[in-house]
């Protein structure tokens, strides 16, 4: 049985480490914040210029000057700092952020990521995604394993315009998890959702990968 959005987010949260500075993308990645293990010191960064994101506000706490990169109202913590967009992307491009979790339309077996445009449709723009994948130390992608019509999204090469070339370190889908030891090595299948078989994953995947499921 496939993992739910919350289960995917919870699994991604297991990659967090004490002391990490983390940037979470919009959608399922935002849910990762709900699964930070108790007692673990993780600081969330938002690329619009904030380090130390708190939970969503109570109705009485809503502040128009205090939003996250998804333009959602947010709160601050005792550790929070604010800075300009240039400083924010200095942190990102400068390799200070330990981990980013992002959504995707396609991932390729060489680590290429496509998540910002579909030619012929209205293009919304890359936002900060290209900067994040260029600068953050570790990139985890969370996405459905196939598109709604069943087309594999983990592919030999991306068909959509790239967000970054060779930038993905780990891929968590609704049925399987792939990870690679380095950006010069192939992805390894390391986990399956409950009830999903390695054979089913093979059928739904176009990318080449190595099966490393513990027996």
């Amino acid at each position: 049985m496939a993992w739910t959005r919350n289960e995917i987010a919870a699994r991604a949260a297991r990659e967090l480490e004490d002391g990490f500075y983390v940037n979470l993308g919009i959608g399922i990645p935002t849910l990762v914040a709900n699964y930070i293990p108790a007692g673990m010191d993780v600081t969330l960064q938002s690329e619009n210029g904030m380090l130390g994101l708190g939970p969503f506000p109570l109705e009485s706490e809503v502040d128009a000057d205090l939003i996250n990169a998804g333009k959602q109202t947010i709160t601050e913590l005792d550790r929070t700092s604010y800075f300009s967009s240039a400083d924010s992307f200095g942190m990102i491009r400068g390799g200070k952020i330990d981990l980013s979790v992002l959504g995707a339309m396609e991932v390729a077996e060489n680590g290429d990521l496509a998540n910002w445009m579909v030619p012929g449709k209205m293009v919304k723009g890359p936002g900060g995604a290209m900067d994040l994948v260029a600068g953050v130390k570790k990139i985890i992608v969370v996405m459905d394993h196939t598109s709604k019509d069943g087309t594999p999204k983990f592919r030999k090469s991306c068909t959509l315009p790239l967000t970054g070339a060779n930038v993905v370190d780990m891929l968590i889908t609704d049925i399987a998890i792939f990870k690679r030891p380095s950006r010069t090595e192939p992805f390894e299948l390391i986990e399956l959702a409950p009830g999903v078989t390695a054979e089913q994953v093979r059928e739904l995947t176009e990318a080449h990968y190595v099966e490393k499921i513990a027996a």
């Binding site: 809503v62 959602q72 240039a86 070339a165």
Partner: protein, 235 residues
């Protein structure tokens, strides 16, 4: 003291507007946008504008106002997803868009304001946004050349200002405003509050007065929220 504080947005923009100009605007989404100055630019009727701003507002608010009146020829932005009129004009070929990665846009503005005509970044290497741009290897990595941006006019929103034009921003309303303020050949700032001389601690100034040509008290401070997201009080 040079007179920087003007009575209203129209007088503060007097002599600064011309058709086909480049205007850089501070703000992220609808947060920290110069609402008062945008309205005055709309009323002026100036057209053929190139607007440099991370986002394009929404249909009836923020920079979306200038799209509604067809005053914009080109947007230089990182994300424009919240604006239906924008989509319509773009798909009809009436509006040009130059997408920049958000961090590249911030750095282009910073560089332009700091007298740096170009810089190399790893962002977007290997993607369509780097196509046609010069690249260079540094320590075995490929970087792409991006240009600094100098705007004919920069408009920003501050939380507090003093009569010299020193600016303080509040929380995430700071965003692009400091780089935008610096990148203008002339810069007009609007502030929610103009305090007396000496009332802003010099250590707390985010944009020093040298970057501000003219200043007004903001009369539009709607500060519309795009995604009001709240949690319930624990029972």
């Amino acid at each position: 003291m040079a007179k920087k504080v003007f009575d209203d947005a129209v007088s503060a923009l007097e002599g600064f507007l011309f058709d086909g100009m480049i205007i850089a605007a501070g703000g992220f989404g609808l947060c920290g946008i110069p609402e008062t100055l945008i309205t005055a630019i709309q009323s002026s009727g100036v057209k053929g504008l190139t607007i440099v701003s991370n986002n394009a507002g929404v249909d009836d608010f923020g920079l979306g106002k200038l799209l509604t009146t067809r005053q914009v020829a080109k947007m230089v932005s990182s994300y424009v997803g919240e604006n239906k009129e924008f989509a319509r004009q773009y798909l009809a070929g009436e509006l040009e868009i130059e997408f920049n990665p958000q961090g590249t846009l911030a750095e282009r503005l910073r560089a332009g304001g700091a007298g740096i005509p170009g810089f190399y970044t790893r962002t977007a290497v290997g993607t369509g946004l780097a196509e046609g741009k010069e690249t260079k290897e540094f320590d075995g990595e490929t970087y792409v050349l991006e240009r600094g941006i100098v705007a004919d006019l920069a408009i920003v929103k501050a939380w507090k200002a003093d009569p010299y034009g020193n600016l303080v921003y509040r929380k995430t309303a700071r965003n692009f405003n400091p780089m935008v303020a610096a990148c203008g050949r002339v810069t007009v700032a609007e502030a929610e509050e103009i305090v007396g001389v000496g009332e802003i601690d010099g250590d707390a100034v985010h944009t020093p007065s040298i970057f501000v040509t003219r200043l007004i008290l903001a009369t539009e401070n709607e500060k519309r929220i795009e995604q009001r997201t709240i949690r319930q009080e624990a029972a």
